[in-house]
């Protein structure tokens, strides 16, 4: 029986649960059990999804104290000898996974976006060189495989409920914390581009008038996002960047304005239902993904489309 441990990030429980789909793809038809580990968790969202829930109730372990979380998981791994350890590549997960892999001396693959099976070995696929190529990585001479998983890429859909058994575990390795949270505040722009059904996205072609995109976003009830060239030039914040070094998005409508569509950008588009690309170059790579390609200037396109929408409203 394969045992798989998933780190449950309280800050992002949806992406934590979606890791069940990754486990599914690793073991396919062979038998497996899933274990969720979380700290001071008191919400029912895990019930019915995992086979086991290891909930560590210990007020001394804060959810940002990566060193103590590592201590606990190490202790657990010595008991359960997991075959796979999966961690969502969230802010915390990206610090936890490497620290834990070092402690356990288990190879780690970062930001996995696909699982492949190649001659009987599990290949963890991740983009490399800013998404210009993909690498299939395997774990050498080690029973346990370990990865951090790119959020918003895998979707867990199985509806059948499991009888989640709760495991009460009392760690013995908790140490005085070297880190404390003084204060925290939610970002002003609370809505995340990943939550928007409509994205009006701009690239190098709209660098001269990026603000114009907000007019169209407002009209279509969507949000503005950007390619790396816009973010690197300081016009927009990294929080709205789409792509390998930004975010992976899955809106229903993606309007790409003056975006060339480098592989690193396209890597950020997953399960996008409809794409419209406006570009002076109709052969730009992004256009090969589009339902409609509009050949021309993107700012001019915004004005014309807004005019059309307004005219038809009357």
């Amino acid at each position: 029986m394969n045992r798989s441990l998933i780190y449950f990030d309280e800050e992002d429980f949806e992406n934590s649960i979606d890791l069940l789909e990754v486990v599914n793809q690793i073991y396919k038809d062979s038998e497996y059990e899933t274990y969720a580990i979380c700290f001071n968790h008191n919400d029912g969202v895990i019930d019915g999804k995992f086979d086991y829930l290891i909930n560590i109730q210990n007020e001394e372990i804060k959810n940002y104290d990566v060193q103590n979380i590592t201590n606990c998981i190490e202790e657990l791994h010595h008991i359960y000898d997991f075959d796979s350890i999966l961690i969502p590549a969230t802010y915390l997960g990206r610090m936890l996974a490497p620290r834990l892999s070092m402690r356990l001396k288990v190879g780690l693959v970062a930001d996995v976006t696909a699982i492949e099976h190649n001659n009987g070995v599990v290949e963890m696929v991740r983009p490399a060189f800013s998404g210009k190529i993909f690498a299939g990585i395997v774990n050498k001479n080690c029973k346990t495989i370990m990865m951090s998983v790119r959020p918003n890429v895998f979707v867990y859909t199985t509806a059948s409920l499991k009888k989640t058994e709760k495991i009460n575990f009392k760690p013995t390795t908790v140490k005085p914390s070297k880190i404390s949270l003084l204060k925290t505040k939610e970002k002003e722009n609370i809505k995340d581009i990943r939550e928007s059904e409509v994205l009006i996205s701009g690239g190098g072609g709209v660098i001269g008038d990026f603000e114009h995109l907000y007019l169209l976003a407002h009209e279509l009830n969507g949000m503005v996002s950007a390619s790396r060239s816009i973010v690197d030039s300081g016009i927009a914040s990294r929080s709205i960047q789409v792509g390998q070094s930004g975010k992976t998005v899955s809106p229903k409508l993606y309007i790409a304005l003056g975006i060339y569509g480098s592989l690193q950008h396209i890597e950020g588009l997953k399960n996008v239902e409809n794409i419209i690309s406006v570009n002076i170059n109709k052969d730009a790579p992004i256009c090969s993904l589009a339902d409609i390609v509009v050949e021309g200037d993107a700012i001019e396109f915004i004005d014309k489309l807004l005019e059309k929408i307004n005219k038809n409203r009357i």
Partner: protein, 264 residues
């Protein structure tokens, strides 16, 4: 105060091209640049040194010796010392082995804190800072946007961190690894004109496996715990697409598409 800053030179990935015929990455003639977030980290270190001239700033990099000219340019920015960890045996090391090698050097060094970037432009695994912190048994935080300079007088430091959903202020015990993020406002200055040709060779120290003494099977491809099985280019699935012009007719097509799908 002594600050160690870990830096890495990365290929300027924007200038890569991919040869789809041969299925290889064309890496010739691609110049190396200082990883942008490492530049933020180093400029913070130099900022501290600017305020307190007795601060000692050392950069540490694991790279081939061909990067020495790039390192010299950094030394001309008023960096006190550069350590280049370089050995043919280390080629092909994965992040696990790389962290082990760098941490072995750091273990014998004294420092108040270690600075790094949060991500690198090429691999972008963000493994090294956390793994080194684990080897040294100290704490680490990524995506730091601001370090409270006043707080550094104590044996702890207060930092402002971009945790994606929120902005948080943490206090960490020193020594620790502080990984600076891109959103920080720290910018590297240019080399002063008078220092452009400054001879800085005596400030570079090259550390090889003669000093670090790893066994051959502990490092490089052999010592790595992961292996790249294959690399491939992604095939783009071409959709059935309509190409229109940016005129009344084209706008009509777009409008009708949006209307049919319920977006307007």
């Amino acid at each position: 105060m002594k600050i160690i800053c870990l830096v890495k030179f990365v290929p300027d990935v924007d200038n890569f091209t991919y040869d789809y015929e041969k299925n290889v990455l064309v890496r010739e003639n691609v110049k190396l640049i200082l990883n942008p977030e490492d530049a933020c980290a180093l400029s913070f270190a130099l900022r501290i040194k600017g305020k307190n001239p007795e601060t000692f700033v050392e950069i540490v990099s694991m790279a081939p010796q061909s990067t020495i000219p790039l390192i010299e340019d950094l030394l001309r920015l008023n960096v006190d010392k550069a350590t280049l960890i370089s050995d043919k045996l280390y080629g092909g090391s994965d992040t696990y082995v790389t962290s082990k090698i760098i941490a072995k050097y750091l273990r014998y060094e004294e420092y108040n804190f270690i600075l790094t970037g949060s991500h690198s432009l090429d691999g972008d695994t963000a493994h090294i800072p956390s793994q080194i912190a684990e080897m040294l048994q100290i704490s680490q935080l990524s995506n730091i946007v601001k370090v409270d300079e006043e707080s550094l007088v104590n044996d702890s430091v207060i930092v402002l961190v971009d945790c994606e959903k929120n902005l948080s202020e943490y206090e960490l015990a020193l020594p620790s690894v502080l990984s600076i993020g891109k959103e920080s406002k720290y910018k590297l200055p240019f080399v002063k004109y008078k220092d452009l040709e400054l001879n800085v060779k005596d400030r570079i120290s090259v550390i090889t496996n003669d000093e670090l003494k790893f066994l051959k099977n502990e490092v490089g491809i052999e010592g790595s715990l992961t292996k790249v099985n294959r690399t491939f280019a992604r095939k783009l699935n071409n959709k059935e697409k309509v190409v229109v012009r940016n005129d009344d007719e084209g706008i009509e097509v777009v409008y009708k598409f949006l209307k049919d799908k319920g977006f307007v």
